[in-house]
Amino acid sequence: MSFDLNFIGILIGAIMASSVPLILAASGELIAERSGVLNLGVEGMMIIGAISGFALMVVTDNLFFAVLGSMLSGLILSLIFGLLTQSLLTNHVATGLALTIFGIGMSAMIGKNFVGIPGKEFPLLFLNLKESIPFLGPIFFGHSIILYFAFVLPFLTNYVLKKTKTGLIIRAVGDSPTSASNQGINVTLVRYSCILYGGAMCGLAGAYLSLIYTPQWIENMTGGRGWIALALVVFATWSPIKVLIGALIFGGITILQLHMQAVGLRIPVQLLSALPYIMTIIVLVVISRDSRKIKLNTPTSLGQIFYKEK
C-alpha cells in the first residue's frame, strides 16, 4: 500500500511539473491582459524562449545565462508587439498572430544546428528529501527552482494586482484607459511594461520546456501550450489563483493521457493526445456560458487601441 501511495505522490509531482510552463505563460499574459492588451503571440514568445535558452545553454554551458537569455528573448519579441500595438496602434489580434508565426519560424531557423544535442542536467533541489519521505517527498521536493517560482508566482501576482498601487494602476489602465490617462497615468508606458513582463514570463516558460521538462530542442516543441495558456486566462476569469488551479487540471490531463498511453489501453493514442485540446474547448464553453460572469471580470478595454491626442 505504501508503494501505491508513493506512486500517487510521484504522479502528483509529474502533474505539477507539466503545469509549470502553463502557469508561467498564463500569469505573464494575465498581467498584460489586465492592462488591456491581448497578446496572441504567447506561443511564439514561448518557443523563442525555448530555443534561446537551449542554444545559450549549449554555447555558454551556463544554465543561469540560459534562463536569463530565454527571458530576454521573450522580452525582445514582446517589444516588437509593444512597438506595433502601442506606438503604431496596430490591431492586437493580427499583431499577435504575426508574432506567433514569426516566432515559430525564427525558432526553427535558430534551432537548426541544435537538433539532437542532448540537454544538460538541471539542478533539482532537496533530492534526498524526495527519496526519504514517502508520498509527500515527490510532491514537495526534488523540483527545479523554476517550479517553485512558478507555484509562488500566482500568489505574488494576486497580491500585486489586488493590494499594491502598481496593481491598481494596471487594473485602472485595463478597465478605463481614458480615466487613467486623465489621472496623469501614462497608459502607453504601463501597457508597454506589462507587455514586456508577459514576454519575459513566456520566455521563461519556454526555457522550462527545453532545459528541464524535455531537456532538448525539438522543432515546435511548445505544441500549442501557448494557446492553452491563453485559454487558461479566460478559464481563470483573469484571476491569478484560478490560473494555478486551471494549469494543474491541464497538467493532470496531460499526465493522465501519457499514463493511459503507457498502460496500453485500447484507445487510440491520437485520441488521448487530443484530450487536452478537447478539454480546453469544453472548459471554455462551460466557463463562457454565463456571459455576465465573464463580462464582470474581463478587463473592459481588452484588445482595444488607446490613442491620446498630443
Binding site: 496572441l40 516588437i80 512597438l83 506595433l84 503604431l88 496602434l89 496596430t90 490591431n91 489580434v93 493580427a94 499583431t95 498572430l97 504575426a98 508574432l99 508565426i101 514569426f102 516566432g103 515559430i104 519560424g105 525564427m106 526553427a108 531557423m109 537548426k112 522543432e219 500549442g224 494557446w227 491563453l230 485559454a231 479566460v234 487510440p268 493514442v269 491520437q270 485520441l271 493526445s273 487530443a274 485540446y277 478537447i278 480546453t280 474547448i281 471554455l284 464553453v285 463562457s288 456560458r289 456571459s291 465573464i294 490613442y307 491626442e309 498630443k310
Partner: protein, 361 residues
C-alpha cells in the same frame, strides 16, 4: 526654444491610394529586413534574396509551382476575408482544411476503383461540406455559448491533425503500404485534371477563381455582403439596423470553412493524390497573412496569394542552395504582416516634415 521637426496629425479620412500602396511598402520593407537577416547569417544579402525571390520563378516549372501554392492560399484567404470583415476571428482554417481533406479523402477511398465523371465532383463537394461543418463548431459555440472563437478554432486544428494521423496510421492506411502512414493513391477519376503535361498546375485553380468571383459578388453586390461589412465597421450600428448577428456569424464561418475545405480537397486530389500526415504546409495559417496583405479585397487577395506563395518556393530554393531551413519562409511571412500592420499607421496619421525655416534659427 524647442523646434519640432516632425508633426504627427490624425487623418480625417483614409486615403484610398495609400490604402493599397502600404502593402507594397510592407513588401519592400520585408525584403530589406530579410536582407539583414541573411547578412547576419553570413550570406551576401543580394545573392540570397535573388535565390529566394527570383530563382524559383525563372522558369515555366517554377511559375506553375507558384500557382500550385497560390491556389489553396487564395481560396482560404478569400473565405477568411468574410470572417475578418465582420470581426470574427477564425484562425483555425488549417483545421478546416485538414478536416475537409479527411472527408474528401474518405469519399475518394470509398470510390476507389470507381470510374465516372461524377466521382471528382462528389469528392470536392464533400470536402467543402466537411470544412464547413468543422468551422461551424467555433461559430455555434460563439453564438450560443459566448465562447471565444479564436481559441476554439485554434484548438480544433490540433484535433483535426491528430484525427488525420489516427486515420492514416490506422483504419485508412494502405493495405499494401508496408505500414507507411498513408492511404492508397486515389484512382485517376478522383484526381484533379492536370492542365499542362509535365507541370503540376491543376484544375483547382478554376475553383479558386470562381470562388474569388462569387465572393466579390456576395461582398459587393448583395445585402448579405453589406451586412457583413456594416457589422465589421460597427457592431452597434448592425444591431440597431436589426441584422441577425448570430445567423451572420454562422454564415461567415460556413463560407470560410467551406473555402478551407475546398483547399484541402484540392490539395489531396491535386498535387498529393492520397492522404498522409502532412497534407498542408500550414496553408491555413499563412492564408491569414494573405487575407490581410490583400486588404480583405478579392482582387488584392489574388496578388497577395502570389507573393506569399513565392515565400514558400523561395524557402525551398534557399534550403537547397543556401542550406537554410525551410522555416525561413515563415520568418518572411511573419515580417510581411509586421510591416503591413505597422505601415497602416500611415493610413490613420499624417507625418509632416516641418523643416527649419531660416527666421526660426
Amino acid at each position: 526654444m524647442e523646434v519640432q521637426l516632425i508633426k504627427i496629425e490624425k487623418r480625417n479620412d483614409v486615403s484610398r491610394s495609400i490604402y493599397f500602396l502600404t502593402p507594397v511598402l510592407a513588401i519592400f520593407l520585408t525584403l530589406f529586413g530579410g536582407g539583414i537577416i541573411f547578412y547576419i547569417l553570413g550570406f551576401n544579402p543580394i545573392e540570397a534574396l535573388k535565390f529566394f525571390f527570383i530563382t524559383p520563378i525563372s522558369d515555366l516549372y517554377g511559375l506553375s509551382e507558384l500557382l500550385v501554392k497560390a491556389t489553396p492560399l487564395c481560396l482560404i484567404a478569400i473565405g477568411l476575408s468574410f470572417c475578418f470583415k465582420s470581426n470574427n476571428w477564425n484562425i483555425g482554417a488549417e483545421g478546416q482544411l485538414i478536416f475537409g481533406g479527411i472527408v474528401g479523402g474518405g469519399v475518394a477511398l470509398l470510390f476507389y476503383n470507381h470510374d465516372g465523371f461524377y466521382v471528382l465532383p462528389i469528392i470536392i463537394l464533400s470536402g467543402a461540406i466537411g470544412g464547413m461543418l468543422f468551422a461551424m463548431i467555433p461559430a455555434i459555440l460563439k453564438t450560443y455559448f459566448n465562447t471565444n472563437e479564436i481559441l476554439v478554432s485554434l484548438m480544433l486544428v490540433y484535433v483535426a491533425k491528430l484525427l488525420l494521423d489516427y486515420l492514416v496510421v490506422g483504419p485508412w492506411s494502405n493495405p499494401e503500404g508496408f505500414n507507411f502512414p498513408e492511404t492508397r493513391q486515389f484512382s485517376e477519376s478522383a484526381r484533379m485534371p492536370i492542365l499542362f503535361g509535365g507541370l503540376r498546375i491543376h484544375a483547382g485553380i478554376f475553383i479558386t477563381l470562381i470562388t474569388v468571383f462569387l465572393s466579390w459578388l456576395i461582398l459587393y453586390k448583395t445585402y448579405l455582403g453589406f451586412q457583413i461589412k456594416v457589422s465589421g465597421l460597427s457592431l452597434k450600428t448592425a444591431k440597431y439596423a436589426g441584422y441577425k448577428g448570430k445567423t451572420m456569424i454562422i454564415i461567415v464561418f460556413m463560407i470560410s470553412g467551406a473555402c478551407a475545405g475546398l483547399a484541402g480537397v484540392g490539395e489531396i486530389t491535386g498535387p498529393i493524390g492520397q492522404l498522409h500526415r502532412n497534407i498542408s504546409p500550414d496553408y491555413g495559417f499563412t492564408a491569414i497573412i494573405v487575407a490581410f496583405l490583400g486588404r480583405l479585397n478579392p482582387v488584392g487577395i489574388i496578388f497577395a496569394s502570389l507573393i506569399v506563395a513565392l515565400t514558400y518556393l523561395g524557402a525551398e530554393t534557399a534550403q537547397i542552395f543556401l542550406q537554410v531551413p525551410k522555416y525561413t519562409g515563415q520568418v518572411f511571412q511573419g515580417m510581411i504582416l509586421f510591416f503591413l500592420l505597422g505601415s497602416d499607421y500611415l493610413l490613420f496619421f499624417k507625418i509632416k516634415f516641418l523643416g527649419l525655416k531660416k527666421n526660426e534659427l
